[in-house]
Amino acid sequence: MVIDFGSISNLPYEFDKIFSGVFNPQQYKRRKIAYPPVNMGEDNANIYVHAEMPGIDIDDLDIAITPKDVVIKGERKLPEGRYFRQERISGIFQRIVAIHTNIDVDKASATIKDGVLLMTLPKVSSTAPKKVAVEIE
C-alpha cells in the first residue's frame, strides 16, 4: 500500500495529472501499476527480479524470500519541509512477486544500484533445463 498525500495538498496539480494522463496514455498506465514496478527475467541458472525504487536504501527494505514468492516491503521517507510541488510517492509499500520455479532460497542475493533493486534467485539445479540428445533411427 502506498499512501500518497500529494493529492490532498496539491489539488490543482492532480487535475493537471488527469489531463496529462488523457493525452499521454503510456504515462497514465505507468502510474496505475503496483509499486514498485517490477521486471522479471531468467536465464538458465537464475531468476532475476528488478524493481525500480529510487532513493531507498537497502536498510529500509525488508525482503522475504520463500520458495514460491518474494515479498518486498519497505518504507519511503521524504524530506520534511514546505512542499511547493509534490509528485513523488511516499509511505509504506509491499509487493509480492510470485516465482513459478523452485529456487534456492539460501543462495539468493539482492543489491541496489542507481535506484534499481536487483535480486538474483538461483534456480534449484533440477529445474534448470537439461538437453537431451534425440537420435533418429
Binding site: R30, G41, E42, E87, R88, I112, D114
Partner: protein, 121 residues
C-alpha cells in the same frame, strides 16, 4: 513490401516525478531518476529554463530473457521555468541512488530580511 515498424520501447519519454521543497535560502528539487548513471544525465539552464534530460541504462543481466516487464529503459526529460528569485549561476546538483537532488539558491536580494528596530526616546 516490407515496412519499417517502430516498436521500440526505449523511444518513450518519461516525465520524472519531482518534488520541490522551499526553504529560506532556496529551493530543493528532488527528482526520481531510477537507472540513471551520472554520465547519462544532462542539466542545462538556458534563459531561465532548466532542462533535465537523462537516459536510464538497460537493467538486464547478460543473457537474461524477460518474463514480465513493467518498466523500461527510457528517456527522462523535464523542463522548468526558473523564477526570477533563483540564482541560476549557483545551482548545485547531486545524483544519489537514483534520485537527483538540485539546490536552487535564492538571489541574495530576495532573501527574507529581518529589519532591526531601534528605539530612541
Amino acid at each position: 513490401m516490407i515496412e519499417e515498424t517502430r516498436t521500440n520501447k526505449d523511444m518513450d519519454e518519461i516525465d520524472p516525478a519531482t518534488d520541490i521543497v522551499e526553504t529560506e535560502n532556496g529551493f530543493f528539487m528532488y527528482m526520481d531518476l531510477p537507472g540513471v548513471k551520472k554520465k547519462d544525465l544532462n542539466i542545462d539552464v538556458e534563459e531561465n529554463v532548466l532542462v533535465i534530460a537523462a537516459k536510464a541504462t538497460k537493467q538486464a543481466v547478460d543473457g537474461e530473457i524477460f518474463i514480465q516487464q513493467e518498466f523500461g529503459s527510457g528517456d527522462y526529460r523535464r523542463r522548468f521555468n526558473l523564477a526570477v528569485v533563483v540564482d541560476p549561476d549557483n545551482i548545485r546538483a547531486n545524483l544519489k541512488n537514483g534520485v537527483l537532488e538540485l539546490f536552487l539558491p535564492r538571489k541574495n536580494a530576495t532573501k527574507p530580511r529581518k529589519i532591526k528596530v531601534s528605539q530612541s526616546d
